[in-house]
């Protein structure tokens, strides 16, 4: 009996505790999906959220990790089942698709009065827009540049290439035995498109034009590199991570890759002597704008989500995390203060001036698929650059024409 009484007391006490806890919990919860898997990214993001949660008493931000490889699927399923978070951090070329699906809220009017919007670079900001309306904010940006192995180039008596012709000849000269002169991730997906577009744009074309002399020139470049033996055909199975691994294992003399690889390379291959220069130029300087955006999901928590975005986008807060993430800030004022002591990262900062966003187009995934298919066809020699270009153009026209 006594025991029973005590149990009841404990239960009552527990209930009291819980209910008082629930009472204090009048905060609105805002959920963020992200796909950053490295501990450092996760810790930094958690810290930023904590900063925000501590800064006010009304909104509680929580993050949920959805693996990168599963992210698009999870988001589509969530959209079909109307079971979505309040904010998603997504790869910027996909932003327009999700805006087109009607997942994201149109925040143009709510953000119109926000003075800081002017501070954003055009490229990243445009990737958040669809038909002139704003559906999110850039988180941070990156781009592609050329990495080279200093010892290998020196041994072949070469300077880092500045033009496409340089690239071909240096790549060929540094190809020796097991070492290939050049590599760029050319998988038949968004990653491959990402790598290919800097060539296509370098000819002066837009993402939507490939079946002309310029487009064929870009396709021929990758084909020539493979044909001459300077680039392994295997690049069609190499992700950007694989390419980096090949580079630091000494199997590549040069590669195209992004700043996010830099910390890993420094940690994994401390003795390797390498450096970065801007991408070789075709007709004009061009690079790919990568990076993530915040998308604000439609629903009743848009205002709370915006409060969080404005907080993390403030220069003071952004400075605390953007370097840790390995991104180049999408705000001019913050970007100017970054990487003053880091020669490698400075190259990427400078390259940003010529970086363009992909699309934006709601059916970008299909366009991207056509482009990467054409690139793969001519790279493997399954089709000529001309035939591949014609086929891709037909697909792209059927998509862009129906816009």
């Amino acid at each position: 009996m006594k025991k029973g009484f005590r149990t009841v007391c404990v239960i009552l006490a527990a209930c009291a505790l819980f209910s008082s806890g629930a009472f204090a919990q009048s905060k609105t919860t805002v959920t963020i999906w992200n796909y950053w898997e490295t501990p450092k990214h996760q810790e930094t993001l958690a810290r930023v959220c904590k900063d925000f949660n501590d800064s006010q008493g009304k909104i509680e931000v929580v993050t949920k990790y959805i693996p990168f490889a599963d992210f698009k699927k999870q988001l589509s399923i969530g959209a079909a089942a109307s079971e979505l978070p309040d904010i998603v951090i997504i790869d910027n070329p996909d932003h327009a698709s999700y805006s087109g699906m009607g997942i994201f809220a149109d925040i143009t009017d709510k953000m119109a009065s926000w003075p800081d919007l002017k501070q954003y670079f055009d490229g990243p900001l445009n990737s958040c827009k669809l038909n002139g309306r704003l559906y999110g904010l850039p988180f941070g940006s990156n781009c592609l540049s050329l990495f080279y192995n200093e010892d290998m180039l020196k041994a072949a008596n070469c300077q880092p290439p500045k033009t496409w012709d340089d690239l071909k000849s240096v790549a060929l000269k540094t190809t020796k035995g097991k070492v290939h002169g050049f590599g760029i991730s050319s998988v038949q997906n968004e990653e491959g498109t990402f790598g290919f577009l800097c060539w296509l744009w370098g000819t002066g074309n837009s993402s939507f034009k490939i079946n002309d002399a310029n487009g064929i020139k870009a396709l021929s470049l990758v084909r020539d590199l493979v044909k001459s033996g300077a680039m392994p055909k295997e690049v069609i199975n190499w992700t950007q991570g694989d390419t980096m691994n090949q580079f630091i294992s000494g199997n590549l003399a040069m590669m195209v890759n992004g700043p996010w690889q830099v910390p890993t390379m420094r940690e994994q291959a401390p003795n390797l002597k390498w450096n970065v220069v801007q991408l070789p130029i075709g007709k004009k300087a061009a690079s790919d704008l990568g990076g993530e955006n915040f998308g604000v999901v439609k629903g009743d928590k848009v205002d709370e989500s915006l409060a969080f975005l404005k907080f993390v986008a403030s220069p003071a807060e952004m400075k605390t995390y953007i370097n840790d993430f390995g991104y180049i800030a999408s705000r001019k004022d913050v970007a100017a203060t970054q990487f003053t002591n880091d020669a490698v990262m400075k190259v990427f900062s400078a390259q940003m001036a010529s970086a363009q966003p992909r699309g934006p187009h709601p059916r970008w995934p299909e366009i991207s698929d056509a482009l990467s298919l054409a690139m793969n066809e001519s790279l493997t020699g399954i089709a000529t650059p001309e035939a591949a270009a014609a086929k891709a153009q037909k697909t792209i026209d059927s998509i862009v024409g129906t816009k």
């Binding site: 698009k72 589509s76 079909a80 699906m101 009607g102 199975n237 995934p365 299909e366 399954i382």
Partner: protein, 300 residues
């Protein structure tokens, strides 16, 4: 009440045994099958995903898929892949089952260990094979070269036919334990007396295999082959990770192509239609199979 009792009196009591499992499966998987079918005759893409009413387009998705051409490749690939895998998995699995059925000290532990390929997450297995088949740093080319069997590295995953071959090899590796264990278990239900009696009657090993072992195993073999066919026909992870349909869409199976349409290109309805084609083929094969197997048994 009497009628109910009458209904269950004889063989119909079998319904009672079957119903719970049946209801369970229909509840969980029946709905997805129906909804997938509906999706395939609607037009659901990026722009219409959240529309309250989805436009009905009849067979347009199917027509568009056939016009595009990748579907045909995937269809052929799926059949080639399935048939090659089934044949070799089954033969190797059967041979190993017979081999390990003999009485020697390593038989049981090794047979047990051969199950391990089944325990590794499929994604890891696929990555492993992708790595082993890579032409530059792959161990397979390395072996072949050091044994002098090839001069130049073979471009396993870089050429359409070779890529298909590599996928088939990897899938056979995964499928062997499945066939081996099921047939092994089947073998143990054959009373040894049967073979002993046959031996006394003067049958040689080959005869007793063809006239005793095979007929006794018939039901097991039938189910192993049918299940193997269904599971192989819809293989997904392996191809998704190893080649993701490449090079240039040449190794897509219906399952990976459907995934690409739905979750990479956001053409949900066309993805559903592709999955439906896969479904219809498997359905037809199963009906034919059941006709073939159960007609002679005269199941009412």
């Amino acid at each position: 009440m009497n009628r109910i009792r009458l209904f269950f009196r004889y063989g119909n009591i079998g319904y009672l045994f079957v119903l719970p499992a049946m209801l369970y499966m229909l509840a969980l998987v029946g709905y997805p099958i129906v909804s997938n079918f509906i999706l395939s005759v609607q037009d659901v893409t990026v722009t219409t995903l959240n529309a309250p009413v989805k436009p009905f387009v009849g067979l347009r998705n199917y027509r568009m898929l056939f016009a595009d051409g990748v579907l045909q490749t995937s269809l052929v690939n799926t059949f080639v892949f399935t048939c090659c895998c089934i044949v070799f998995q089954f033969i190797i699995g059967f041979a190993l089952a017979l081999f390990f059925n003999r009485d020697f000290s390593f038989a049981k532990p090794i047979r047990g260990l051969l199950m391990i390929p089944w325990m590794i997450p499929m994604t890891v297995t696929a990555l492993m094979f992708k790595f082993m088949f890579s032409s530059n740093v792959g161990i397979i080319n390395q072996f072949l070269q050091s044994w002098g069997m090839i001069g130049q590295p073979i471009e396993w995953l870089l050429q359409p036919q070779l890529a298909m071959f590599s996928l088939i090899v990897a899938n056979i590796w995964i499928g062997i334990p499945f066939n081996m264990i099921l047939i092994s278990t089947g073998l143990t239900t054959i009373p040894p007396e049967l073979n002993e009696a046959a031996a006394i009657d003067g049958a040689n090993k080959r005869q007793s295999f063809f006239y005793i072992t095979l007929p006794m195993l018939k039901p097991v073999i039938e189910s192993v082959l049918l299940l193997g066919f269904i599971y192989t026909f819809k293989v997904f992870d392996l191809v998704f990770v190893m080649t993701n349909g490449g090079p240039v869409n040449s190794t897509h199976l219906l399952s990976t192509y459907s995934y690409k349409l739905s979750f990479t290109l956001f053409k949900y309805s066309q993805g559903a239609a592709t999955a439906n084609i896969l479904f219809i083929i498997l359905f037809a094969v199963s009906v034919m199979y059941l006709r073939f197997v159960y007609d002679d048994k005269g199941a009412a």
